[in-house]
């Protein structure tokens, strides 16, 4: 499952602009002499910089003691001989061993610091990863599935395919796909340990085996190139400040000829009647609130171009509206209630909004709930689906 190419080889490169030496792959030499080129590049890079020198080992999957000993020797030597510099080593929690291993250098010389890169990765992380989000995701997926189960085949999902759901959250989508489309392999990746723990529990309670839940960073996945027929990423591009990084990774792990499938919202377009204007106002504010936290909840219609720019072909885009008339008005209302708590409660407070704003902000959510439960009401939440084929 770990990239095959990494097994035999590693890459070292120095980026002068960022004063960053990046090591990636697998370094398991037999003799220290085999490290000579790498150590030389490390030394010449160090000689060329001022201030902080970054060593990026986020994608260094394997490292034996022979290699570590050589690297450590060169780094410690530089830290001692150059009082003017600091060395920052950037590790990834996904690798497992690296933060601890490189951390031994700090004990030896405090000028060498280790930062675990993905512990605070995307802007809204704190809001979305905390436990409160779980019930919202469950309800959302229940509601979107009614539409997506019919939409997915139009975007190329067929039984027996290998697939990956990236940013899987609590994994409900993977479970539903596993039941309905019997993929031959399904990997579900997320960066929230609590969501994954929940996902595993759900799968085991429902006795659904075979879903490979993986902790990982969607921006730098350790999955091999070109191994999935279908790669989905739902409601997630919209929360990253650099969605193109994620799209590139989705394309990378997709097989040539396979398809990448993304869904996103345009939250300002949520609607309802009665009390349309109050509802519209609140969702426009919600869109701005997310923007203040560097998240683009208007991403839905932009996803076409995002896939096009990533080089995909045979692009398809459509939208669907989750509504209170889909058969479960209460579930719709529950979802909006949870949004109100998370957004008008937690997030708006965090931005420092005053009480009058929060009250008006809340009213729109309440009107949306009322519209959903009203005997003649109509309440909607639109979602955009886009997919494209990776060239052969």
């Amino acid at each position: 499952m770990i990239a095959e190419k990494l097994v035999q080889t590693y890459k070292v490169s120095f980026d002068q602009n960022n004063q960053e030496l990046a090591l990636a792959g697998s370094m398991r030499p037999q003799r220290a002499a085999e490290m000579a080129d790498c150590v030389k590049l490390l030394e010449t890079s160090l000689a060329s910089i001022r201030g902080t020198f970054y060593v990026n080992v986020k994608r260094l999957v394997r490292l034996n003691n022979v290699a570590f000993h050589s690297l450590a020797g060169a780094l410690l030597k530089a830290a001692e001989e150059r009082p003017d510099i600091k060395i920052t080593i950037i590790t990834s929690s996904v690798i497992g061993w690296s933060t601890k291993k490189f951390g031994t250098l700090t004990a030896k010389n405090p000028k060498i610091v280790v930062e675990e890169y993905d512990s605070e990765f995307y802007p809204g992380q704190a809001f979305l990863e905390e436990g409160g989000f779980v019930p919202v995701l469950r309800t959302q997926t229940k509601l979107t599935w009614k539409h997506e189960r019919a939409i997915l085949p139009r975007h190329g999902l067929e039984p027996g395919m290998t697939m990956a759901d990236i940013c899987c959250g609590i994994g409900d989508f993977a479970v539903l796909v596993a039941k309905e489309f019997s993929p031959s392999r399904i990997v579900a990746l997320d960066h929230s340990k609590s969501s994954l723990a929940y996902a595993r529990q759900v799968a085991s309670e429902f006795d659904i085996g075979g879903i490979e839940y993986i902790y990982g960073d969607a921006a730098e996945m350790l999955l091999e190139d070109g191994q999935f027929d279908f790669v989905s990423c739902r409601h997630a591009l919209q929360i990253f400040n650099k969605p193109e990084m994620i799209v590139n990774e989705l394309v990378r792990i997709c097989k040539p000829g396979g398809r990448v499938y993304v869904t996103n919202e345009k939250i300002s377009q949520c609607l309802g009647e009665p009390r349309g204007p109050s509802i519209e106002w609140t969702y426009e504010q919600l869109s701005k609130l997310f923007a203040d936290f560097d998240m683009d909840l208007e991403f839905g219609p932009k996803s076409y171009q995002a896939l096009q720019r990533a080089g995909l072909e045979d692009l398809r885009i459509e939208s669907f509206m989750v509504t209170n008339r889909d058969g479960d008005a209460q579930a719709f209302a529950d979802m909006i209630m949870a949004w109100e708590e998370m957004f008008a409660g937690g997030m708006s407070e965090k931005r420092g909004d005053d009480a009058a704003f929060v009250e008006k902000f809340r009213r729109g959510f309440e009107d949306h709930i009322a519209a959903a439960l009203h005997p003649g009401g109509y309440a909607g939440w639109p979602v955009w689906v886009a997919s494209g084929r990776k060239p052969r």
């Binding site: 770990i2 097994v7 697998s26 022979v66 690798i95 902790y215 990982g216």
Partner: protein, 172 residues
């Protein structure tokens, strides 16, 4: 370092995977250490709750053991590597052909590993000048992976080096 050693009977472990090879064959190519540890890690990590993370850690640990054996063994005989599992615990057993000198190395190493906190030794070894100490991989397993080591005699001129590891808090 006696975390649970002796708590579990050998019988409770189920064999997951075993591999044997002529020592001369194994030591003909350094990359076998990497390939074997990666292969084993992949094969046995599927039903751990985070297979990729587990496989990364397992591969790192097993590779250090294999590199140690690659360097220290008797020239002839058969090398066996097996992994068995008991819940969250995985047991790596290596049957290593030895002569007096290499047997002494493994026996002394295990005495040290079981003789209290070895982290100062490990850290010294990591940053020593000159060539690496041959026991560094074993020290790393004891310190970073909380491995428990033991040695059993094996048929012929061989020993069985056993390392037990718990790389994940609990089994799913």
């Amino acid at each position: 370092m006696d975390l649970g050693a002796g708590q579990t009977e050998a019988g409770e472990f189920t064999l997951l995977l075993e591999f044997d090879m002529d020592m001369a064959g194994f030591t003909s190519n350094w990359s076998y250490c990497d390939r074997l540890s990666t292969y084993f890690a992949r094969m046995i990590s599927h039903n751990r709750s985070d297979s990729l993370l587990y496989s990364n850690l397992f591969s790192s640990a097993l590779n250090e053991l294999l590199e140690t054996v690659y360097r220290l063994h008797a020239p002839t005989g058969s090398f066996v590597c097996s992994v068995s599992r008991n819940g969250a615990k995985d047991r790596i057993a290596l049957t290593i052909p030895v002569d007096t000198e290499t047997e002494g190395f493994y026996r002394d190493a295990v005495v040290v590993l079981n003789g209290g906190d070895v982290s100062p030794r490990y850290h010294n070894a990591l940053f020593s000048d000159g060539p690496l100490q041959p026991n560094i991989g074993l020290l790393e397993l004891a310190v970073d992976y909380a491995a428990c080591f033991s040695i059993e005699p094996a048929d012929g001129n061989a020993i069985r080096l056993i390392a037990e590891l718990t790389l994940e808090a609990s089994a799913p």
